[in-house]
Symmetry: C3
């Protein structure tokens, strides 16, 4: 195996780990922490037909807006990212395409599978940390 | 950690990445692309009680046959491979056992969990790329 | 990327692989094998409100107790660990937090999503192998 294969494998684990931390923040409703995993100028389109949120501040506003509906319909959501396919560019940008299962559990009920999605990310490295420059989510 | 532990970890990420690309091809119904992830002489048994498909050409024929039913019952299927357990042989062959969740979404409906499977793979390396020499799927 | 980043990535793959083997043992009802993935003095709390099992022998007794109910209600259970977030200490101890989906399939039925959990593990290395010093499971 070449040294480039080694580097690729390390990056693969790093992206998986990034997703784990990122989505655990969202599911814990640490919305500021989740917004911080995006770059300052990022674009985040999570719902087809809805204008993507732009800039980290805009993403945070949008997250608060979207999460309002859970005030009246309390539930524990879980985002499970799997089948991660990464494609790193020579300039360090990483295109990543993965599946996201959205699950939820309401008080007194069993878990429910809400949605299957395909996530299209562009990841960049800032001060050693991965961040989303963009995320676009397709719903099945 | 020994250098063999390092190599093992790299292989682990490589197998996960291989599965992500392989199953995204199938779910996008790129059947030729999916068949190309098998060796020329591969065997693929995806349904208990049904004779396994043999050779890459035979696997492709079988895939077209199996996918016909989706013409009349359109749906977006997703294969989620998880809990990957690999066991590499000294000769470079890799036995891999993992879980596969099969999910589907029909137009206008929510997602559905169709089946839990255990996948038994034998993977080999051809010109630097992993390929399935065999795949046998058990259904729960 | 620093050499510490490399080591982190290797550990990440190792933990994922450990979970795959560990939970495949449990789902195959190899209860002794599963109990052996815990340290001799481990603590395992799998059900909120139930006293955690303590020591490997105590964990094994508890596993046999818990699995009795499946004698009268046969089913193939699957534990899918995803979104693994690890946090290694300087002393080699690893805190790991991940999601667990519990799925089951009863004879003649389709698969069912039983529960979403968050797993809080403390992993240690014994004779080169990872083991759970503790596991505490929260249910959504």
């Amino acid at each position: 195996m070449t040294s480039s294969a080694y580097a690729h494998a390390d990056l693969y684990a790093e992206v998986q780990h990034f997703y784990a931390r990122q989505m655990q923040l969202l599911d814990a409703r640490k919305l500021e922490g989740y917004a911080d995993t995006f770059t300052e100028d990022a674009e985040f389109g999570h719902t087809p037909g809805r204008e993507p949120a732009r800039t980290r501040a805009g993403i945070l506003r949008d997250l608060h807006e979207v999460h309002k509906r859970f005030d009246e319909d309390p539930q524990q959501r879980r985002h499970v990212f799997t089948m991660v396919d990464i494609d790193p560019d020579a300039d360090g940008t990483i295109r990543s395409t993965c599946y996201a299962l959205v699950l939820t559990t309401r008080p007194g009920s069993g878990p429910e599978l809400v949605r299957n999605c395909v996530v299209h990310d562009v990841l960049v490295r800032e001060e050693g940390e991965l961040r989303n420059r963009s995320r676009h989510v397709e719903h099945d």
